[in-house]
């Protein structure tokens, strides 16, 4: 079984737990939830009770302990055994929504927003991207104007994972002038007058995970919901990106690993011209190339995760890992469909879904081009 170099006996035990959870609570429903475009809300409480939801958060704030390495191991296992990437990323949207609250929030904000999410009672989403643009975060236009004890928010956000059902939305807003210095983070709760889900978006993959367009019209948000100081939002978003990109790279590794395993099995079972597909050297070499690219992506992703745990966050390495992993994943799922032939194009086969799911990764969490911008800046050219 393929694992990360950083894994210990604890990671193995955790993988066993994640696998057991996925076997029992995800796999039997994977296809149905993907087709329905949603998984039941009750699943949040179930995964919270299993201790998997709170991974990567300290016990003191309601988490289950552990760090990014534990999240990578557990979420890979959820994908491998659960077969529903959409469900895993939907359940995991707190992974980008809560860290800014944990990093900048007060004790009271953590009580109100973080704990209920980690108990599985509330759903959290992060809203940075706007209809007018996602890559250029520093130019975001959603305005929050201070008025007494409130901020009045006007604007729109789009492509927001878990946005349709989110109770707690960490929103990037402009409180100051143009540029990154004017960006702040504000928590906006479901039910706040002026906040609405304007659209449930239909998309290529990640079907079981809902994605929303959110609208704020003269939406009054208590100033007590501001995270940190005014103008501290951009740094928080950028710090968040490093972890998010490692998570996304890890998902690519997991998706590719699953597509690879399905392909190995299929190549053994399916016969053509009197022998199994794996009897053709062309097929075996294809599988070998798939395994190789996954191993390379896993190695780099693991390195970035290990550095992160050792307080050595490297945005450029995270960007490299994300690009390496997305490239590996996109290529591997394509080969997986090819090995499956016509069945690979059919919805009954998980590789068909993985192929669609994989297309998100060079876009979400910062596009492939933006990753190269990050790398270029660090490299100094």
């Amino acid at each position: 079984m393929a694992t990360y170099l950083f894994e210990t006996a604890e990671h193995a035990a955790l993988r066993a737990q994640a696998r057991a959870f996925a076997t029992r609570s995800v796999r039997p429903h994977a296809r149905a939830w993907e087709e329905a475009g949603e998984f039941p809300r009750a699943l949040y409480a179930q995964i919270a009770a299993s201790g998997l939801l709170g991974l990567g958060y300290r016990e003191a704030i309601g988490g289950s302990g552990g760090d990014v390495t534990h999240v990578l191991a557990a979420s890979e296992e959820l994908v491998l055994e659960g077969h529903s990437v959409g469900t895993v990323v939907g359940l995991g949207s707190h992974g980008i929504a809560l860290p800014p609250i944990v990093a900048l929030g007060t004790g009271e904000q953590i009580e109100r927003f973080v704990r209920p999410v980690l108990r599985g009672e509330k759903i959290a989403a992060l809203a940075v991207t706007e209809p007018g643009g996602g890559s250029d975060v520093a130019s975001l236009r959603t305005r929050a104007v201070r008025d007494g004890d409130d901020y009045v928010v006007d604007g729109a956000k789009t492509f927001i994972t878990s946005g349709v059902r989110a109770d707690v939305v960490t929103v990037a807003v402009r409180t100051g002038g143009p540029g990154h210095g004017g960006v702040s983070m504000l928590v906006i709760e479901r039910g706040t007058p002026g906040f609405s889900v304007s659209k449930r978006l239909e998309k290529m993959g990640w079907w079981a995970s809902d994605t929303a367009e959110l609208t704020f019209e003269e939406c009054r948000v208590p100033a007590a919901n501001l995270l940190g100081d005014e103008g501290s939002g951009f740094v928080a978003i950028m710090a968040n990106f490093v972890t998010e990109r490692v998570y996304l790279a890890g998902q690519c590794v997991a998706i590719a690993e699953l597509a690879y395993r399905e392909s190995v099995q299929y190549a053994r079972d399916r016969h053509a011209f009197g022998k199994p597909l794996s009897g053709f050297q062309v097929t075996r070499h294809k599988l070998a190339d798939m395994a190789t690219r996954i191993a390379a992506a896993r190695a780099l992703t693991g390195e970035v995760a290990s550095r992160l745990v050792a307080a050595d966050a490297r945005p450029e390495l995270a960007a490299m890992a994300k690009n390496t992993a997305t490239d590996a994943c996109s290529w591997v799922v394509d080969q997986a469909v090819q090995i499956h032939g016509g069945y690979g194009y059919m919805r009954d086969f998980v590789v068909e879904r993985l192929f669609r799911d994989a297309r998100l990764y060079p876009i979400g969490g910062g596009t492939r081009e933006i990753m190269n911008e990050v790398i270029s800046k660090t490299e100094g050219y």
């Binding site: 079984m1 006996a9 604890e10 035990a13 737990q17 057991a20 179930q46 201790g51 289950s64």
Partner: protein
């Protein structure tokens, strides 16, 4: 109540296609292992009997888990410790040097020193499906036994009312403690186990419990002792001898029938079951 649970790791049945069979032996190197499911149910039963479901962190009794296996089998014990068992014992042995009778005799000896009030076992392990250890153990100990338990109600922790799954229904059996009980699948249904500590109307989530990372970490510090098989019994001879191994024949491809009448025809003429 003090409960001793025996558990075993088994080759992951999902990877059955990787198992290599030669006439002399079944090759187990390279296989992935997981706990025998019925044994996991036994651990869950022990935990439910020794806690108030309102506070599962506090153990109101003692649960000891025992396995017979090589060093690598310790991860199975650690996993049980992570879900809430208090201590673990590994009897050093390999599968090919064990049979149900030897395990039962060694367990009986271990139980003399451990002195549990109850021994819980899975009804069978899913590799050999022998279904013998609980029955033999009860006999060697001279204790009452209840096998295939689908429900257990503790009566003041001095007796158990055990619902046994039998053909055509449930047989309710009252066993006074100490006793040996083997459990079946339905023991992990939400209301199957009633302890003296938990409110009678409590419903557990279906299935065995999960261990959170903190519990996995804490399990590393719990006691895990190793015992030599020869310290438990001088007679390590086996009563079961395997004379040969062969893989099951590959299933033949099926045929698709076009109509019900064709199906009936084939059932009559080819399958000859009608």
């Amino acid at each position: 109540m003090k409960i001793l649970v025996s558990l075993k790791r088994v080759a992951d049945p999902d990877n059955a296609n990787k198992i290599k069979v030669t006439p002399q032996k079944i090759e187990t190197t390279g296989l992935e292992f997981k706990p025998n499911p019925f044994d996991e149910y036994a651990v869950e039963t022990a935990l439910r009997l020794t806690e108030n479901a309102a506070n599962t962190k506090q153990r109101l009794g003692e649960v000891t888990v025992v396995t017979f296996g090589p060093k690598e089998a310790e991860s199975t014990l650690r996993a049980a410790l992570a879900t809430g068992a208090d201590k673990a014992i590994r009897v050093d042995a390999t599968d090919d040097a064990l049979d149900g009778d030897l395990v039962a005799r060694a367990l009986a000896k271990l139980i003399e020193t451990e002195k549990p009030d109850l021994v819980l076992l899975g009804k069978q392990e899913v590799e050999g499906d022998a279904n013998q250890v609980a029955q033999l153990l009860a006999e060697y100990l001279g204790w009452p036994q209840a096998t295939f338990a689908g429900s257990i109600k503790s009566e003041g922790d001095t007796a158990l009312l055990v619902g046994r799954e039998i053909d055509g229904g449930t047989m309710n059996l009252r066993v006074t403690l100490p006793a040996v009980v083997s459990v079946d699948l339905r023991i992990v249904a939400p209301r199957s186990v009633q302890s003296v500590h938990t409110k009678a109307d409590h419903a557990y989530p279906e299935g065995v419990r999960f261990a959170a990372l903190m519990a996995i970490m804490a399990a590393k510090k719990k006691s895990l002792t190793e015992v030599k098989l020869t310290d438990l019994t001088g007679d390590v001879g086996l009563k079961i001898k395997y004379t040969g191994f062969e893989p099951p024949p590959a299933r033949k491809a099926g045929v698709k029938v076009k109509s019900v009448s064709e199906l009936v025809e084939k059932l009559k003429t080819e399958a000859k079951v009608l």
